[in-house]
């Protein structure tokens, strides 16, 4: 399986990544699924001016690799590529890109959603929001933890 994990400060180009992955595949893949997360400009009716992402170099990358390991064990994936940005971001900026490839769309869609759900709960990043000139650390949400843990529910 092709895999790529990049934690970077600079922006990325989805088209370039898509083409690079499509070129790297060897013809057996019938589907690429993509998810790109963006910075929202409003949270709780307040304007967000900056979203700052912090990570722990040396621990963050393995935490993403572990998520990909689980996805690979679960679906017949040909590729999982993850790019996650760090540093100060502005509204509408790209934060994260997940690309998955598989022979069929079911595994590509499911693998992409699974990796994204666990990036929220298991990948070592912290977000700090600045709203109205005041900065505060974003708290993890029950909804995010529930989404991830639902993958272990019977029938999934």
């Amino acid at each position: 399986m092709l895999r790529s994990v990049r934690v970077i400060a600079e922006d990325f180009d989805v088209g370039v990544e898509w083409s690079a992955l499509r070129t790297a595949l060897h013809g057996g893949s019938g589907a690429i699924a993509a998810f790109c997360g963006l910075v929202r400009d409003r949270v709780d009716q307040e304007t967000v001016t900056t979203l700052t992402l912090e990570h722990y170099p040396g621990m963050t990358e393995p935490s993403i690799e572990a998520i990909i390991d689980r996805a690979e064990a679960r679906w017949p994936l040909d590729a999982v590529w993850v790019i996650h940005r760090v540093g100060a971001l502005s509204p509408a900026d790209q934060i994260v890109l997940v690309l998955t490839a598989s022979a069929h769309r079911d595994a590509a869609f499911a693998g992409c959603e699974f990796v994204m759900d666990y990036l929220k709960t298991d990948a070592v990043f912290w977000k700090k929001e600045t709203r109205g000139g005041v900065s505060h650390w974003v708290e993890s949400t029950h909804a995010d933890r529930r989404r991830a843990s639902d993958w272990d529910a019977p029938g999934k």
Binding site: G37, L53, E54, H55, Y56, G58, M59, P62, H84, I95, V96, M116, L119, K120, T121, D122, A123, V124, F125, W126, K127, K128, W137, V138, E139, S140, D144
Partner: protein, 84 residues
Amino acid sequence: MIAVRFFASLRDAVGTAGLDLGSSRMPADLDGLLCVLRERLDGEAYAAITGASVRIAVNQTLVEGNAALTAGDEVAFLPPVTGG
């Protein structure tokens, strides 16, 4: 020497990104390290880093409960993650 690191909200709570615990009083395990930190930090900071949701990593690997420490180890205090 043990390198102690605090991330995100815990860095703000403690007021520093990290501190080195010198060889004169090097703790043998995590419990010992917490004893040293209890003396070094103010009550509010110590409460923050020992909160129920805080996870501890030794050399970038999460640990549960107590763990032995040796010179050169890096111990990190991690608040709940919020990536993606």
